[in-house]
Symmetry: C2
Subunit: 319 residues, 2 copies
């Protein structure tokens, strides 16, 4: 099912802007607060906060982040989940979102309804309010939804990408690769895990893996250091193995380069008690795998046998 229709009566153009906005509020249901705290005024109003605030923005575009095989409800959920994953990576809690839609005149109202129901269900689950937005006409065949998410810190600190030191340990949650086979919209953002990790003093940096480990790790790597990864320790998603059978690449290639994993990449201080940290994790999240996949080393002092990341590429947004 794609977002467009050849039947004019089913299109957003036939529907009209004002009616569409009224319906969007209805589709969003309880996640759409009353004006001025929600849709309906020049700005949405958010009450004051004593916490550090977090802001992130990520879109979904037709042909880029989803295709005809992804159900519209899953597209709506994915739009929010992509942003939730960023808030999780700072150890935050999501609060409110605005959504700017760029719609082709032939966008199908029925598709848009399911999209919003998926968005609303995900927002309800994570206690996010959809407080505002915009609708703009786009060229035929184009669908883009641009969400900006606001969150707050859950404790005394937010975890940044930080500054790793030699010997610091690199962990990753879950498993990696092959997201194209469904994980890219079926994932669960690691919010509970991120908030817990932000409270552990052992954790010195964190980010979410969205463009593939090989590329994203660069953002955590200070000048002069390099990640020394243990190839055999990298958790490979079953779907990555399935992809590998088709592409004739090594499964590890998919695990490092595919992107859209939405797992957490965690740096733990080299002097921290590693066993205690891992024990506490297992107690708190018995069903979520946590893998120690390597350490940071000085470039001129790399351990033998460490994986050469330069052989793997992550997802490039402009090709």
């Amino acid at each position: 099912m794609n977002p467009f229709t050849a039947i004019r009566a089913e299109s957003v153009t036939a529907h009209g802007e004002l009616r569409l906005i009224a319906e969007i509020r209805r589709w969003l249901g309880k996640t759409s607060p009353k004006s001025p705290f929600g849709i309906g005024d020049d700005c949405a109003v958010i009450p004051p906060t004593k916490r550090y605030q977090l802001v992130t923005t990520d879109p979904v575009l037709y042909g880029q982040h989803f295709d005809d095989t992804v159900p519209p409800r899953a597209v709506g959920a994915k739009l929010l989940k992509r942003n939730l994953s960023d808030v999780a990576a700072m150890g935050g809690r999501p609060v409110a979102a605005v959504v700017a839609l760029a719609l082709a005149p032939d966008t199908r109202v029925g598709w848009l309804r399911e999209f919003h129901r998926g968005l609303a269900a995900c927002a309800l689950r994570h206690r996010v309010k959809i407080v505002g937005g915009d609708i703009t006409q786009a060229p035929a065949g184009f669908f883009g939804a641009f969400l900006t998410l606001h969150g707050v810190s859950t404790g005394p600190r937010v975890v940044t990408r930080g500054r790793a030191l030699p010997g610091d340990r690199i962990y990753v949650t879950g498993a990696l690769g092959g997201s194209l086979l469904g994980h890219h919209y079926k994932f669960t953002p690691r919010l509970a895990e991120g908030a817990w990790l932000a409270r552990q003093k052992e954790v010195c940096a964190m980010m979410d893996v969205s463009d593939g480990l090989a590329k994203d790790l660069n953002a955590l790597t200070p000048d002069g250091l390099a990640p020394a990864l243990i190839g055999s320790a990298i958790p490979i998603r079953e779907a990555a193995r399935r992809c590998a059978r088709v592409t004739k690449q090594a499964p590890l290639f998919h695990a490092l380069g595919d992107g859209e994993d939405y797992e957490l990449l965690i740096i733990v201080y080299y002097r921290a008690d590693k066993d205690r940290f891992e024990r506490n994790w297992k107690k708190r999240f018995p069903r979520v795998k946590l893998s120690l996949i390597g350490t940071f080393a000085r470039k001129d002092n790399m351990p033998t046998g460490a994986l050469r990341l330069v052989d793997y590429r992550g997802y490039e947004h402009l090709r």
Copy 2:
């Protein structure tokens, strides 16, 4: 000058994503704070605030909000100013923005540089920080920039679209119509005026005129009431008269329907001292025209000679 190039070496694709992000930070200059308060982490961090917060989102799309005749710097400024106008309409002060870009592979880097310089100059003037964003690939020929702006209240209240009563007076700043001839990107958002108006107890509601007075006034009109406008009191921009000479419509038609005026529409309480309010305005903003254009009346008790708004249409976003 349009946003695209036929020469691959000049395109964002040839440039590459990481280099482009580094350059965007350079183009934004002082308006781009250091990470984690700016670009470079999973989320941008904004310090706590004791004030009511305001959030709004508005994009610029090629072919929709600008064409080849608008200089790229003006496009960048317009993107921010559209959002500033919404913050002004609540009586707020802008603080920080994130920008999601949807770029065709053939987007010209030089055009994008000028766009960002225009955005940065406008952000600097209004003390707005550009704290984050996203870049996604879009189909050929597409350029969209989606900005979400955060602001805070400047005083004890934010001014909403409120609830007008019979007899309440309707004012508008500046003049209306013909924005297509240049005003749509040359306007100055009414931030100082909005903040001042929020402090006047006479003001009971406010919004910005972006889709044309005829359409936008509906948003301020409660059930059972209608605006009773005085046709001769509506301030007509000189450009609206120029448009009228071409379209053979009345200049008033353009003033009421053209949109993109970015003026403030103000409702003043019917029992307020009108002369005192107007005197104070003149003292504070001697160079900005304020026009009393009508009052709200009961639908079954409209004054004779009042303008029939139903004959005029504002801008429809989905045609």
